[in-house]
Assembly symmetry: C2
Homo-oligomer: 593 residues x 2
């Protein structure tokens, strides 16, 4: 056996910010070296950020990534960090482009590199490309066909990339043939509820399959519509958990491992990858000599968060990074006195601090007295910046020129409020947060260009039931020492806001229940229909009330149909005349940098 | 040799409207039978419409497509049309689902079927799945691996689907081994400028490769963001054009072909498809006996449209079908007196008739006298419904509560106008058309939730230069007999609107040239940068002025960055909590139909 201290750098890069990401690489390698690590690993596509979407198809961006990688290797050596091998993800391309109809231009690769002594030692690329859910990788990458195995202090370390773990066959199946002593997986695996349990189980299974320990380093941070949760782990060859990083925060996970010493004669060459392809083992030696024996430190294993803490953590990190990575400092939102905007304000206060959260109270003739006083109570509890702008005069000005009735009149009020948000955003530079929840949006209980306007919707994916649960959970944290939350001493959300009956207050005595089923029966059905994509028969078989199933399917299908009729202005197009670029939102890469 | 009269049904289905599309199948088969056709072919995915996007992943939708196919076959027989073999595209799935990570749920197939005597004779599926540009087919389909060859009146007819023609290897390469007498390709190939020439060349090349005549039937019509142009063609084994359907209209292309008689012993079994896969030839006999000799009719070949007529035709059809397939009858737009809204109004009048086009004139304190009179002149020339609503009182009502300056004040006016459009749309049920052109949108010269608001943007993909060219082209058609255009006797667009200098009229004496380079130098550069995705060095090498390249890249990158910061309200999401469905906009399929 041979000892090895490995460091997994669970960092938060920004898509397109090559220079900033390279800075992270140097900074965290220094921390790892100071911790005495013999090997440091960074996440998938760390140098470019992830997901890069169609940036991968821009030749100048691929070349910028390649140059950044080579320069980062030299910088590490220049700063005295050249001795420790570094594995990182980056964007590369096949040296000889495969020009064929249907393959992405320039043959880009979701690549990994080993850096050592100022050089790029060995390069490989992701073999299994995910193309489902939030992933569209067949569009932008071609697959890799090698398994790099690098001998570090007498241990053969094989590296694979993210999806390579999730699918059978491919480089993981070749790892045991290669007789590796450690399987290192670099990842940009987005957060989903309860995915931490699935991932750990997967790592255990693949470690047993590969016959060696597995080190899994994940990205952390919000990027566009995704949140990466970190949760990097190390498991033994028997699948047992050895070390675990915390969720939703940057972290250097250092662990002392006792690994099988490599055979003198390395395995190389092509191997049947059991998925219809052949993978070549690409072996390289960094150091044959084992590390002199030392006393290992006990490994650390962060406790995973419970469900509500995890969801809230994802929302706070996603909001903070959306604001920051898009170059904003402050946010603005409308505070109605209802639970949705109250929770959004609280998430924003936790994400960037209450002093950077600006709220406007925009009462109309239908707003109740309680709405204003409850909102003012929240402002006082959290110390937000607030302003009251009555909208009555604006409504009157429209109504003196136009005769609008029913929904048209209700929508007008919501759109006047959005105009005020956007006007203040344009004037003062705040990012507008929007407060719609998934129950409303799925059923169409929302106004286009009205309450749905804004740059980021922190609770867009939460059912109303979950909005209430998180509000109560957050209030329960008041006065406790919680590193990811603002230290409010009092409950940040007034109880009156949590217990009041939901209302849009766009006409006299309006209540959500006039239009929608009660949320406690609506929400479980929405989850099954919208997220799990179950059909009518399956929903009824799962125990939902048949009449409610019919009603909710009608509501959701109609809302979806209407929403899709009005795609957002700037993205509408008969696309045929020329495809516009499809790039990530918070992309910091500019042609002219 | 053997004679065969084939009919290509270039029809316009609607995504999700299975019943309506099956109706088209029966109606156009009747027309073909009445024309004496021995074989009728419909486009790719004709029964479901195309693109179905994530509907393909819904089990109940796949089953509905299968049932519709079987029922359509029986209906054809019931209505006395069972003798003529019919080929059509539809959605199917693999009988045994391939459950593997990364493959679409349910293993859907972009399928083709032969219908005859009330039965579904033979089924196949697209082999090459496009996954670039507007296509994402790896997400929703698995590939097919058979080449169906059906003997009809002694001629062996092989069928392939769309992308199978565009890529080397696969079923087309197997066609000559199968010794087919005719290669029938069914397609849903979207319009792009000048693509008609490329397609014809491709058909000629593939006919020579297959060693037989090739019949290419394409879809026609607007569907969501795409327009299908039709342009179905038949070429001989030497690649020579034999027959051609017109663009942008439904059409039955009937042609008498003289084809090689089939060998008695059909070729069957697996063949190396020269793309790393094996394809099985699936042979079936409908009729061995050749058709008794008859006098062939001379083939018809529509003349392709010239460039401007083609672009204008695509815009008219795309607009008409977006309105119609989304269940609207009428449209509403703001008429500013400028060229963009003037062209949009004219396209709308051509698409659905002037009597269904409602315009509003919304002058502010910065609108010139000429803007109103020019707009009124257009209204009179075209016979549109119009209404004037001055916005001054609404602007004043906002400004009495908020202090907005510069861009914030300009944007406010644009957003007040959008509120009026949307209010009238909600009140009266018109679809709002938005008037932004590509030069404005690419450079960010546009207001979010303001002039960019609306359900469909007919000229979103046109540079300003092209907007002027089409306005002049359309005026030139006045008084001419043009079947696709409204018969305006006078020029529909006042000359004053075409020659005036572009201005947003959001502040005193504002002109586009205060902010943007002249359109005649800006537009070619935008096309190269945005559509062709050329980098800085390539743009300069192509002859663009280096200083202008720097300036325009900055403008476009900044606009894109800003636009992406504000994705549309309802689609904003940290998606991780559950993937929302990704379905086509004008989908008519409902779970509860």
């Amino acid at each position: 056996m041979a000892q090895l201290r490995i460091a997994l750098a669970q960092v938060n890069p920004t898509v397109g910010d090559l220079e900033g990401n390279a800075g992270l690489l140097v900074e965290w390698t220094r921390r790892a070296a100071e911790a005495g690590a013999h090997l440091v690993a960074f996440p998938e596509m760390m140098l470019t950020g992830y997901p890069v979407e169609d940036l991968a198809l821009r030749s100048s961006f691929v070349e910028a990534s390649q140059r950044t990688l080579a320069r980062a290797a030299r910088t590490l050596a220049d700063e005295g960090l050249g001795d420790v091998p570094v594995v990182t993800g980056y964007l590369d391309r096949r040296p000889v482009s495969m020009i064929r109809a249907g393959l992405p231009a320039g043959s880009p690769l979701d690549a990994a590199a080993w850096l050592h002594h100022g050089e790029v030692l060995i390069r490989s690329a992701k073999h299994h490309l995910p193309n489902y859910g939030v992933f569209d990788e067949y569009r932008i990458f071609v697959r890799g066909d090698t398994l790099p195995v690098v001998r570090v202090h007498g241990v053969d370390v094989a590296t694979v990339i993210c999806e390579d773990l999730w699918q059978d066959g491919g480089p993981v199946s070749v790892t045991s043939t290669a007789d590796a002593g450690l399987l290192l997986a670099i990842n940009a695996s987005p957060y989903e509820r309860n995915k931490d349990d699935v991932r750990l189980e997967l790592c255990a299974t693949r470690a047993r399959e590969a016959g060696c320990a597995l080190a899994y380093v994940n990205m952390v941070g919000g990027q566009d519509e995704l949140v990466f949760d970190g949760d990097s782990v190390i498991v033994g060859a028997d699948g047992e958990l050895l070390a675990r990083a915390p969720q939703f925060t940057e972290h250097l996970l250092v662990a002392d491992l006792d690994l099988p010493a490599a055979a003198i004669e390395p395995v190389t060459g092509p191997v049947n990858a059991l998925d219809g392809t052949t993978i070549s083992i690409d072996h390289h030696v960094v150091t044959e000599d084992p590390v002199p024996a030392y006393d290992p430190s006990p490994p650390t294993a962060a406790r995973p968060l419970d469900d509500l803490a995890e969801v809230y953590g994802a929302l706070v990190l996603g909001t903070r990074d959306y604001v920051r990575k898009n170059g904003f400092r402050s946010v603005l939102l409308g505070l109605s006195g209802g639970i949705d905007s109250a929770l959004v304000a609280t998430i924003a206060a936790d994400a960037i601090g209450p002093d950077l959260v600006h709220v406007v109270l925009l009462p109309s003739r239908y707003s109740t007295e309680g709405s204003v006083t409850d909102a003012e109570d929240l402002v006082k509890r959290q110390g937000l910046h607030s302003r009251i702008v009555p909208i009555r005069g604006m409504v009157d000005a429209f109504e003196s020129e136009l005769e609008l009735h029913g929904l048209a009149a209700e929508n007008l009020q919501a759109r006047i409020r959005a105009n005020i948000w956007m006007g203040l955003s344009n004037e003062h530079g705040h990012l507008v947060l929007t407060g719609g929840n998934k129950s409303e949006l799925a059923t169409g209980y929302s106004t286009l260009y009205g309450d749905s306007a804004g740059g980021f919707g922190p609770i867009k994916d939460l059912t109303k039931t979950m909005v209430w649960a998180l509000a109560r959970w957050r209030n329960d944290q008041a006065g406790k020492d919680h590193p990811a939350l603002h230290p409010f001493e009092v409950e940040p959300i007034p109880e009156a806001i949590i217990v009041k009956e939901p209302s849009a207050e766009l006409r006299p005595d309006q209540k959500d229940r006039d239009t929608l089923p009660p949320y406690d029966v609506l929400d479980p059905l929405l989850v099954d229909y919208v997220e799990r994509d179950m059909g009518r028969d399956a929903l009824i078989a799962a125990g939902h009330d048949p009449a409610l199933v019919e009603r909710v399917i009608r509501l959701v299908d109609l809302a979806e149909y209407k929403r899709r009729q009005y795609p957002p202005g700037p993205k509408i197009t008969p696309k045929n005349f020329g495809r516009d670029r499809r790039l990530p939102i918070t992309n910091r890469w500019r042609e002219l940098r």
